[in-house]
C-alpha cells in the first residue's frame, strides 16, 4: 500500500511542474466558461427570473457550465493514452514484471494527478467563474461535502473507462477509431455537452442506466440539489465498483493474451 501512496504522491507533485501549461489551460477553460455562460444567458434573456429549462434556471445553467469547465482536467473527458503508449513501446512488459497490482498502479497515479488538478485547475476555474458570474452555491454544508466526495468518484469512473479502452491496445494497436467513439460518447453521456435533463426522454432513460453521468452530471446535481445525496453518491459508488470489476476482468484477459501470445 505504501508503494501506491508513494506513486500517487509523486504524480501529484509532478503536476505542479507544468506551470505554463496550467496557465494556458486555465485561460482556455475561462474563455469557454464565459462563452458558454453568455450563450445560455442569451437563451434565458426574455424569460422571467425563475424560469427553468429541464429543471435548470439561468443561474443554475451558468453554474453547471463552470463546474463542467472546472472538472475537465481533474476528471478528463477525452484523449488519454498513457497505458496504450506503454503497450506500444513495450514498457508494459517491465511493469508486468514488477510485484505490483497493475490496476492499482495506474489508479493511484491517476488519483494523485487528479488531486493536483483540483488544486491547479478546478478551484481557480470556479473562482474565476464566481467573479465573472453569479453562481449558485450548494445550499448546505452537507451538499458541499457531497459534492467534494463525488469528485474522486467521478475521477474513478472516468479512470476505469480510460483504463479499459487503453487496454484495447493489447488487441488492436491502432486505437484511433475506438477512442474517438469513446470521446464522443463521454462528451454526450456524461452531460458535458448539455445537461442530461435537456435531452429527449428516451435519451435520458438510456443515459441514466450508463456509468458516464457519474463523471459530471451527478456531481452537478449534488451541488445544485437536484438529486438526494444518498441517491447521487449511491449511484457513483455503484458505478465505481462495477467499473473497477470490469477493469479487472478485462485486465485478466489482457494479461493472458500477453503471456500466451507474447504481446
Amino acid at each position: 500500500m505504501r508503494m501506491y501512496y508513494e506513486l500517487a504522491k509523486r504524480s501529484f507533485q509532478q503536476q505542479f511542474a507544468y506551470r505554463a501549461a496550467t496557465l494556458a489551460g486555465l485561460f482556455t477553460n475561462s474563455v469557454f466558461g464565459v462563452l458558454l455562460s453568455s450563450v445560455y444567458l442569451a437563451l434565458f434573456w426574455d424569460q422571467p427570473a425563475n424560469a427553468s429549462v429541464g429543471g435548470f434556471t439561468a443561474a443554475q445553467t451558468v453554474t453547471y457550465t463552470w463546474i463542467g469547465q472546472a472538472l475537465i482536467m481533474p476528471v478528463i473527458f477525452w484523449g488519454w493514452f498513457l497505458i496504450t503508449n506503454t503497450i506500444r513501446d513495450g514498457t508494459v512488459v517491465m511493469d508486468m514484471l514488477k510485484p505490483m497490482d497493475f490496476f492499482l498502479y495506474w489508479y493511484s497515479r491517476d488519483l494523485g494527478r487528479g488531486a493536483a488538478q483540483i488544486i491547479t485547475r478546478a478551484i481557480p476555474t470556479l473562482t474565476i467563474g464566481s467573479i465573472l458570474f453569479d453562481l449558485v452555491w450548494p445550499e448546505s454544508w452537507q451538499r458541499w461535502a457531497a459534492f467534494l466526495i463525488s469528485v474522486p468518484f467521478a475521477i474513478t469512473v472516468s479512470f476505469c473507462l480510460r483504463f479499459m479502452f487503453n487496454l484495447w491496445g493489447f488487441w488492436m494497436l491502432d486505437h484511433r477509431g475506438i477512442s474517438s467513439l469513446i470521446i464522443v460518447m463521454t462528451g454526450v453521456f456524461s452531460g458535458h455537452l448539455l445537461p442530461v435533463s435537456w435531452y429527449p426522454p428516451w435519451a435520458q432513460n438510456l443515459i441514466n442506466v450508463l456509468p458516464f453521468r457519474s463523471m459530471l452530471m451527478t456531481p452537478v446535481e449534488l451541488w445544485l440539489g437536484q438529486v438526494s445525496i444518498a441517491q447521487g453518491l449511491g449511484m457513483q459508488v455503484f458505478w465505481s465498483l462495477v467499473m473497477i470489476g470490469c477493469c479487472y476482468v478485462l485486465l485478466h484477459y489482457a494479461e493472458r493474451k500477453v503471456v500466451v501470445q507474447g504481446g
Binding site: 513501446d89 508486468m96 514484471l97 514488477k98
Partner: protein, 335 residues
C-alpha cells in the same frame, strides 16, 4: 541445487494471416485466422547453478529473448518445464518478481518523468527493501557504476549509457538471486561497458548472484562468462566452457609471416589437411592451421623454405570467428 532448471522448453507462436481492408481487420479482430505456427524455442534443456554467469548467445531471432521471457514468467511456454529459484515462473510470476532482477536493454523500468533517485526510491517501496539495505545497495551501485553525477537528473534526459547504468542499479536494489540481462551493453561506449562488467563481476563474487546474460558483444562474453550457451533456430547448439567452444569450433590459429621480399609463388602448395595458406598479400602471407595437428614453429619452418622471413605474428582464434562458424554450420553439439 540448480537456480534455473529447464526441461524441453518449447514456445510456438501462431502466425496470423493478415486480411486486408477495414472489413478484413475487423474480422481478424473477432475471428483471427491462423496460417500455421512458428517455433521460436524448440525444446531446450539446461541447468544453471547458483553463482554462475552464463552467456546466452545466438544470432538475431534465435530465441534468446523468448527464452528469457519464459524464465521471468511473462510468457507461458507451449510445453516443457522450468523452475527458477524453486518456482515455476509463469505460475508464480508476482512471487518470482521479488527474487529476480531483469534488464531488457531496449526498455527501461525507470519512470521517464522522475529523477533517477526518485525512481529508485519508488522501487524501494515496491520491493519493500529495508531502508538500511537500500542505502547500502545504492551506495555500492553509485560507486561502481558512477551514478553520482546523474542521480538527480530526470530519466528522460539521461544518455543511453547513463540510463542503462541506472536500470542496472534499479534491477539490483532488492538483492535478487537471479539477474536476467538481455543485451545490457547494447549501444554503450567502452567506459560504460567496462563499468557494467566490473559491477557484474563484483556482484557475482560478493553475493553469488546468478546471471543469465544475452549479448551480441563477444567481449562481454570473454570477460564475464565461464560458460556459454549458443542457441540458433530455437535449439541449443553448444553448452559448455568458452575454451571448449574455441578448441572445438575455432581450432584454427593464424600465423602471419612477413617475408623480406615477395615469397616464391608456389608457397600455396604447402597447404594440406593441417594448414592452409589463406591469403598472399605481396610479402605478407597468412597461414591458418589446426592447433592439434601442427605446432606454430613447424608452420614457420615450412614457410621459411619459400623466402627469407623478416617477421611473424600469431593470432589466436577470435570468438567472433568461432561463433560465425557455428552459425554457418548447423550441427548441435553438446559437451
Amino acid at each position: 541445487m540448480s537456480m534455473i532448471s529447464v526441461r524441453d522448453l518449447r514456445k510456438t507462436f501462431p502466425i496470423k494471416r493478415h486480411r486486408s481492408g477495414m472489413k478484413g481487420s475487423i474480422a481478424s479482430l473477432f475471428r483471427p485466422e491462423y496460417e500455421g505456427e512458428f517455433a521460436a524455442v524448440k525444446g531446450i534443456s539446461f541447468e544453471v547453478a547458483r553463482g554462475e554467469i552464463v552467456g546466452y548467445i545466438g544470432p538475431n531471432g534465435a530465441g534468446k529473448s523468448t527464452t528469457i521471457k519464459m524464465l521471468t514468467g511473462i510468457l507461458v511456454p507451449t510445453s516443457g518445464d522450468a523452475t527458477v529459484a524453486g518456482l515455476v515462473p509463469w505460475e508464480k510470476r508476482k512471487q518470482l518478481a521479488q527474487k529476480i532482477g531483469v534488464v531488457f536493454g531496449q526498455r527501461t523500468q525507470l519512470w521517464w518523468d522522475l529523477a533517477l533517485i526518485e525512481s529508485l526510491e519508488l522501487l524501494k517501496h515496491l520491493y519493500r527493501v529495508p531502508e538500511a539495505r537500500f542505502q547500502e545497495n545504492l551506495a555500492t551501485a553509485t560507486e561502481l557504476l558512477g551514478l553520482g553525477d546523474f542521480l538527480q537528473t530526470p530519466v528522460r534526459q539521461l544518455s543511453l549509457g547513463q540510463r542503462m547504468r541506472g536500470d542496472l542499479a534499479a534491477s539490483l536494489l532488492h538483492d535478487p538471486e537471479i539477474l536476467y540481462l538481455d543485451e545490457p551493453t547494447i549501444g554503450l561506449d567502452i567506459v560504460a561497458k567496462a563499468a557494467i562488467r566490473d559491477f557484474l563481476q563484483t556482484l557475482n563474487r560478493e553475493r553469488q548472484t546468478t546471471v543469465l546474460l544475452t549479448t551480441h558483444d563477444l567481449d562481454d562474453i570473454e570477460q564475464l562468462c565461464a560458460r556459454i550457451m549458443v542457441i540458433d533456430h530455437g535449439e541449443v547448439m553448444f553448452d559448455g566452457e568458452l575454451n571448449a567452444l574455441k578448441s572445438r569450433w575455432g581450432g584454427r590459429r593464424q600465423l602471419i609471416v612477413d617475408f623480406a621480399s615477395d615469397p616464391d609463388a608456389d608457397i600455396g602448395s604447402i597447404s594440406n589437411g593441417a594448414l592452409e595458406v589463406t591469403q598472399i598479400d605481396g610479402p605478407r602471407v597468412t597461414i591458418a592451421f589446426d592447433r592439434d595437428a601442427i605446432s606454430a614453429p613447424d608452420v614457420l619452418g615450412r614457410a621459411g623454405a619459400f623466402g627469407e622471413v623478416r617477421d611473424m605474428s600469431l593470432q589466436e582464434p577470435e570468438i567472433e570467428d568461432v561463433i560465425r562458424r557455428m552459425y554457418e554450420g548447423s550441427v548441435p553439439i553438446r559437451t
